[in-house]
Amino acid sequence: MGSLDPIFYPTSIAIAGASPGKSGQWFLDSIRTSGFKGPIYAINSKGGEVSGLLAYTNVKDIPGPVDYTICCIPAPHVPQLVRDCAAKGVKTISIYTSGFSETGTQEGRDLEREIVRIAQASRIRIVGPNCLGVYSPKVGLSFASDFSRRVGKVALIGQSGGNTSYLIRAASQRGVRFSKAVSYGNACDINESHLLEYLAHDPETEIVAAYIEGIKDGERFHRVLSRLSAVKPVLVLKGGYTRAGGEIAASHTGSLAGSAEVWDSLIQQSGAISVGNLEEMVDLLVTFALLPLPRGRKVGVFGGGGGASVLATDELTMAGFTLPRLPPELIKELMELFGNTAGMIFKNPIDLSMVGYSQSFYDVVKRLLSYSSGDSFDLGLIHAGFGQAAWFSSSAFEIEINQFRDFVTRIHRETDKPLALVLQFLITNWDWQKALDLQRGCSEAGMPVFHSMASAAKAIDRFLRYHEARQRAGKTG
């Protein structure tokens, strides 16, 4: 098998079934707004015009070479299109069309088998069917016009188009950038093992995330996953983990899901990281992509205050972190510096509600992060509990929040300690927009942002355990 490079770096694209108002036009528009530099062609058996492009009636009529075709035509016509594309010298066909093995019908299975036969007889490769295909920001290929155009170090493979889109959007929103992503559907030709094998050697990918419903070849998958996990962290979310879920997966992507026990031992042996749901996946991507590795589990929590700090301490403690007390000499120094009357603020968690989001916030946090002794922090968490703030009027809040963002990003830029923001969101008209602005500011500055202390604690604990296990393996191996 050749390299999968052509799948991710096409130089010319055709969309088959590009008619106005249909999915074909949607793909076309997504690619055009994502900055693709090469030629884009529309194909429609009836001809006509779509998004200002004159449609060719057949891929073979296109004058120049075509690398990559997106198929949006009805299932019964797909085999002929694959033949035509093969004849044209197309390297990849990404098939959005559904109605194949996932229908559970003989007809669907036969159709899928037929396109695989055509692909094997020629050199064309199939992504899908029943998928959204490739997101490759480097060449401006995308299946949604709102995806980021910036290139990063995370690769994502997803068997579900919706879940793949969700992960790209949710992780991008929090500062994670992708090298490439692929929604690969029924995986009739290119499957999860091919993709993971490729990513192991992809110099542009440092972290791999996978949403998988079923695997085609268990032994091969195990081998590939182990090899990949030896060189890069691999985060795997299994859809259809339970028996009930597995039955649904079968009718979603025609996958045989396998038992939970087999899956657990496979993941564990391979050294991959098992993920429970989409939100956890996003938290882990944020952690692995943006947080420097803490040396240990001593955490300083800055802000929050009162009951939020009580609950935060419970969450962190339950996840195996410790919150060291501040040494008396440091408290003394801070008292002298800030002349504070309320001794209670110099504890860990540090209640900074008295100083608000002012210069003193910046000074105190900076001092605490730079303090070095046996008990100095390995990790700092800035705790902004928006929903908890009783004492801001909306207008005061707006000014404060911009100031806060500037201080937080400045501290993040200046410190060499791992630092994250825990931003407790609430959907209320009052503060979601402000919280979102703050998140955007911090995420764009490359700072990890979490939405609860519990999820931050869980993700960072997994991050530490992953590295601890690798260290142990390194020592014994």
Partner: protein
């Protein structure tokens, strides 16, 4: 005055005094914040202000002393430093006030001998004078019925849920978070260090309060374990009580001690006691909101069989895993219902025709889909119908999203109105700015129509499972 009478009086207050308001020509202070927030929330009763310096602010006269106020006062809010509080309690008693809320901190929670002494002094004065003290170190009461609150953005409508909370910030969070999902509160109190009126007094009060149907409590520590247990047990026998214990870990307890001077008690002891007393125990504030939403909106369920209709194939796969983990069953749908959906569906990618049923965003607007969904709502093989909405599907462009979402909302609300089937909506907060915007609107439409709304399948499953167990236990314990 006994505690119940005092609490009745302050939850129905007609006049308030804020002590320690900075005059208009001075800077902002916490007294001013209370004043602004009380006015902005729309309090219709009398607002009086006290500061030894006199002066005025926002056109209101500031009296130098409490006794200078010509009218009666119900509720006193103290924003003055701790050492002056004892005198204020005496003055409040002389003035005939029913209760004093001490926003002031600097008492036992400081962990200093001075702080402890000051607090003990306040406690003794409350006992000897009969004026009741809320706090210190708290925000006091939120009572929509009296048009009174400490924060302007909290809901104005009154409802069946009362909430007692040892932390001011957590009070804010829960009232907002649950409020955004349709929970309306009857009485809310942030009670801080609880030197006079404590958690047990409050639970006892809410037990006999006819307006309170559901009780929620965030507690960091209790004063008298035995009495607390007895009162909680008696309350839980007649009303659902949702309890979140802060400071369950050793480190958390240390923080709780410096927050509200609470003795937290051991984790296991607490968990056992809460279970045995019949309380509904939750682990965080979001779980508490989930539980309150369930208790207020969900009808009694016959069992754990459900059908789910929602957008997205992969989302359906993961949702099925989550329901299964929480012990729910998604039974096979009968042929006629499957056929109804088959008739409605075209050739969309990854469309699933079993349970869950995968419905494209576009589908909700069409009559054929409504017909199929109506049939699903009549299916006798399920106890609950869940709509799973990821806010923004794969191909939903921003231009059409609002229209489609309106259609979805309308279809679901109509089904809910016309069917006796218990229904819930799981509306994911999509992680993009637009997604949040849609979610806020969407959720409001749903709860106003009486639907139970959750934000993820695992949280919905957990709350509904607890709800079912709660009712099962309640039935088992009844003679």
């Amino acid at each position: 005055m006994n505690k119940n009478e005092a609490l009745d009086a302050v939850f129905n207050l007609r006049s308030v005094v804020i002590v320690g308001v900075a005059p208009g020509d001075e800077g902002f202070n916490t007294g001013r914040l209370f004043l602004n927030h009380i006015i902005e929330y729309g309090f219709k009763g009398k607002i009086h202000l006290v500061n030894p310096k006199g002066g005025e602010v926002l056109g209101l006269k500031i009296y130098p002393h409490l006794s200078d106020i010509p009218e009666a006062v119900d509720y006193v809010i103290s924003c003055i430093p701790a050492p002056f509080v004892a005198q204020l309690i005496k003055d409040s008693a002389a003035k005939g006030a029913k209760a004093v809320c001490l926003f002031t901190s600097g008492f036992a929670e400081f962990g200093t001998e001075t702080g402890r002494q000051l607090e003990m002094g306040v406690q003794r004065l409350a006992q000897s004078t009969g004026v009741r003290v809320i706090g210190p170190n708290c925000l006091g009461i939120h009572s929509p019925k009296a048009g009174f609150s400490f924060a302007p953005d909290l809901p104005h409508e009154t409802g069946p849920v009362s909430f007692i909370c040892q932390s001011g910030g957590n009070t804010m969070y829960l009232v907002r978070a649950a409020g955004a999902r349709g929970i309306r509160f009857n009485k809310v109190i942030s009670y801080g260090n609880a030197c006079d009126i404590d958690e047990t007094d409050l639970l006892e009060y809410l037990h006999q309060d006819a307006e309170t149907k559901v009780v929620a409590a965030y507690i960091e520590g209790v004063k008298d374990g035995r009495r607390f247990y007895r009162v909680l047990q008696e309350l839980a026998a007649v009303k659902p009580v949702v309890v979140l214990k802060g400071g369950t870990t050793g480190a958390g307890a240390r923080v709780a001690a410096s927050h509200t001077a609470s003795l937290a008690g051991s984790h296991d002891l607490w968990m056992r006691a809460l279970d045995q007393a019949g309380a509904i125990r939750v682990n965080d504030l979001d779980e508490m909101a989930d539980m309150l939403v369930t208790l207020q909106y969900m009808p009694l369920l016959g069992g754990k069989r459900l059908a789910m209709a929602g957008v997205g194939g992969g989302a359906g796969v993961l949702a099925t895993d989550d329901w299964d983990r929480a012990g729910f069953v998604l039974p096979q749908l009968p042929d006629d219902i499957r056929q109804a959906f088959r008739d409605a569906l075209g050739n969309d990618a990854g469309t699933i025709l079993s349970n869950p049923v995968d419905i494209p965003h576009l589908g909700f607007g069409h009559e054929v889909f409504r017909h199929a969904l109506t049939k699903l709502g009549q299916f006798q093989g399920i106890d609950l119908l869940v709509f799973h909405l990821p806010i923004r599907g794969i191909m939903l462009s921003l231009a059409v999203a609002p229209i489609l979402i309106d259609r979805e909302t309308e279809t679901i609300i109509r089904l809910h109105r016309e069917s006796a089937m218990p229904m819930a909506v799981v509306a994911h907060y999509m992680a993009t700015g637009e997604g949040w915007h849609f979610a806020a609107k969407y959720v409001k439409d749903f709860y106003e129509a009486g639907l139970t709304v959750y934000h993820s399948i695992p949280s919905a499953a957990k709350a509904i499972d607890r709800f079912i167990r709660y009712h099962r236990n309640l039935m088992a314990s009844q003679p």
